[in-house]
Symmetry: C2
Subunit: 470 residues, 2 copies
């Protein structure tokens, strides 16, 4: 902190560290795996704990919002007229705990060891959620009010793809109206690196089948005289990229912006050795020629086959010429690209590459979500960066996520506002794997960060957000 | 028949048509599926029926030959000193009957309808075996002796790959010594076409795995920065053939003989429209440029991927970059090619094509068998052709089999003699599928053919075969 006077709100928050850990332990004990209908009591238990804490903090308008799926929890405190209104987002549901045999302590029983608290949801997102709530609670306890207007939205479908979120947002547009979203979900990129996420790639997937005959053929009776669907599929997949690793579908890059010199310099300055990171998992760097590894990961689109199969795949051998082959593909897209245009380009390219005697069918078309980027000068981004700088002494590195955050785009579409991620989880905390954990250090860092960012936003005027609302 | 005097042996054989059908019905009722241990009683039942018939016919030295698998039945009659000794081959085991639901009458209950006898094994090989045996029986009944020396070998492992046959042949080399083999197995190529098989392609298979990392990777966190094993495998498969459909592995064609003008003319004269046949099953003609469809099927080698898989192949989508992909491949080889050289060429080509950051492992190496061809002027081939010409009025078309007959090569290797196929099954009789049948017309045609070929061989001298024995 640049100011040497201790912040009384932060001091209060830090003094309640053990209460936060107790609350996190109780939340982890609720097996809120929304994918498993048998865990409905765990979902309800988690909701009740969150609701009880919001009530005790003096939040108003506490209610459950439902649109046919798991209820989300809403509450608000509109304490600061003229200051920005921020929707604080988190989720109370967790990933399934399987495979259970790989956990070193039971997934729904918090276990502190090696300065980490282990348990399903510790990092994603129960710990980061409680950090945000306890920072808010400290303002209320010490100042009697929040420095900004806060709406809370804690959903229960994040880990299952938020299926009812579009309906929920549409039905409660006025209630949820805010200047921006500050998310307690969305992990920090690397341990030891102060960073802030400013965007994510879009994605979408589809599945194709190639057919070359009405039935599988014996390779002795037909070998050499007709098409093999596996060869055709291999040719199609091999033709998806050119020799430089660029996606070969004409038109695919139409709306992909060239990297600016500033972006190239910004990426070059990021102190991360991706190639060493790849070497650790036995992988070699590879991708679109002419771009750095980070550029390829964050600012360039990709097209990957995620699964392919056809013919005889059992034990032993079978001399069959397969009549069908299938493949699942997904793309990662960058801001500017239309998912439907990108997909149309790939399909047209596949169809144009199809040899005589083969047909191609589109079997499924899934999960389209556009890319997302917070504007460089968005006031909430600036507030978050300033809070990080203040609490860590370091200027946060602006990073992106190669993956996709459908919720961000969903909210942007439904509410017309941007999301800034401000979670104190870290991406290495095994949050979709056994032995999920949260570093205990994240609690103090997070409380400091949240107190600081709430103060920074409290120093802003709501009007500063108007140009960024759509 | 060119000679208008009825052949008394044939007349006798034809008069016993209903006994032959009764014997076939009894044999079909023995479920001799050697792949299914539960059908051991069916295997034993079939052996006993065959042994009883051989005994009744007056065959000598009846015995079971075993080498750790299903016993083969052996018997002999050395009635004709100075005449050739022919080993007559057939098999008593059948394919599994599954899928049972598709049979219109029970697989192990003979059902005559539409001038066909239906049942598992009717065509492969119980019907053709009984035709051969009943022709032999007619000679014994009318003449009291066979016109040649006959050794009978009826195996029980043909449908399961004859695993103990190499050991059996080695252990009984002297007993099985003969001038050539006349096989009651190996179907006629096309209904309505008088043809004789003069060769088959070799084959062999192997399985490879490509790896690009130590674990599957998330396409958001790694998409664009490293190799995808599915792309690498697709590139490898796509690179197996050049744009002309030729196998691209250097050295693969080293020992493949060019087609002679005579061969090209012979193939062109065969009255079969393969392209129309392909169209019936929704397939288009395709293969090595510069060769006719029949040349590609019979006289040119092939390399086919029979199965490939990797990544996520379940329901829905998963944004995974696969770290591993696998493929099963088989080759069909022509006379002159060494299976091990051909395989080495393909593997070397695959390894040379492998990009940096990927590894290739050979997982399995299976079923190597060389190609086979009966010499053009082999006396048994000439006898068989003459018998066919005599009984049908047509000169048989010499055809080959695109598939592989490992037994032929096995016998050639073990006993140093050639095999001529003389089955009266036809290749469209669904013998590896539900509703297997044998045309009833095959019985009269087959009895006439076998009586004629035995007489033709009886007119030969054993010494004529000496130059062809190795």
């Amino acid at each position: 902190m640049t100011d040497q006077t201790p912040d009384p709100v932060l001091a209060h928050a830090l003094s309640r560290r053990s209460e936060l850990l107790a609350a996190l332990t109780a939340l982890i004990a609720c097996p809120s795996d929304g994918a498993d209908p048998a865990q409905a009591p765990g979902m309800e238990g988690a909701r009740r704990l969150v609701e009880a804490r919001l009530t005790a903090m003096g939040f108003c308008a506490l209610q459950r919002l439902e649109a046919g799926g798991q209820p989300a929890i809403y509450a608000e405190r509109m304490d600061a007229p003229g200051r920005p209104t921020i929707l604080v987002y988190a989720h109370y549901d967790v990933q399934p705990p399987e495979p259970l045999a790989l956990w070193r302590s039971p997934p729904f029983e918090a276990s502190v060891r090696d300065d980490r608290i282990h348990g399903r949801g510790a990092s994603d997102d129960k710990g980061p959620m409680l950090i945000a709530l306890e920072a808010l609670a400290a303002f209320i306890a010490i100042d009697g009010a929040l420095p900004i207007n806060v709406k809370i939205l804690i959903e229960g479908e994040e880990e299952t793809g938020s299926p009812s979120m579009p309906g929920l947002l549409a039905a409660h547009r006025d209630l949820l109206d805010a200047d921006a979203i500050l998310s307690a979900d969305g992990a920090r990129w690397r341990p030891g690196l102060v960073s802030i996420n400013t965007g994510s790639r879009g994605n979408g997937g589809f599945e194709i089948a190639v057919r070359t005959a009405s039935k599988d053929l014996h390779s002795g009776r037909y070998g050499g005289v007709t098409r093999n669907a596996l060869h055709v599929m291999a040719d199609l997949i091999a033709g998806l990229h050119d020799a430089d690793g660029r996606i070969a579908a004409p038109g695919f890059y139409d709306d992909v912006p060239d990297l600016t010199d500033a972006q190239i310099a910004e990426l070059a300055a990021i102190p991360v050795d991706m190639d060493a990171h790849l070497a650790e998992i036995g992988a070699a760097p590879f991708g679109e020629a002419g771009h750095s590894t980070l550029a390829r990961l964050w600012l360039r689109p990709t097209l990957d086959v995620n699964g392919m199969w056809g013919g005889y795949t059992g034990a032993g051998s079978k001399t069959v010429i397969a009549c069908e082959a299938q493949a699942k593909m997904t793309m990662r897209l960058v801001p500017g690209q239309s998912p439907s245009h990108a997909r149309a380009c790939v399909l047209a390219h596949l169809r144009a590459s199809l040899p005589e005697g083969a047909t191609l069918d589109l079997l499924a078309d899934r999960g389209w979500s556009g890319a997302n980027a917070v504007p460089d000068d968005h006031p909430l981004l600036l507030a978050a960066e300033a809070a990080m700088h203040e609490t860590t002494g370091q200027i946060p590195v602006r990073v992106r996520i190669g993956a996709s955050i459908p919720l961000t785009e969903l909210i942007e579409t439904a509410l017309g506002i941007d999301t800034v991620m401000f979670s104190y989880a870290t991406s290495d905390e095994d949050y979709h794997a056994p032995n999920e954990f949260l570093r205990l250090s994240a609690i103090d860092e997070g409380l400091a960060g949240w107190v600081a960012v709430l103060r920074r936003i409290g120093a802003q005027d709501a009007a500063e957000y108007a140009p960024f609302r759509r």
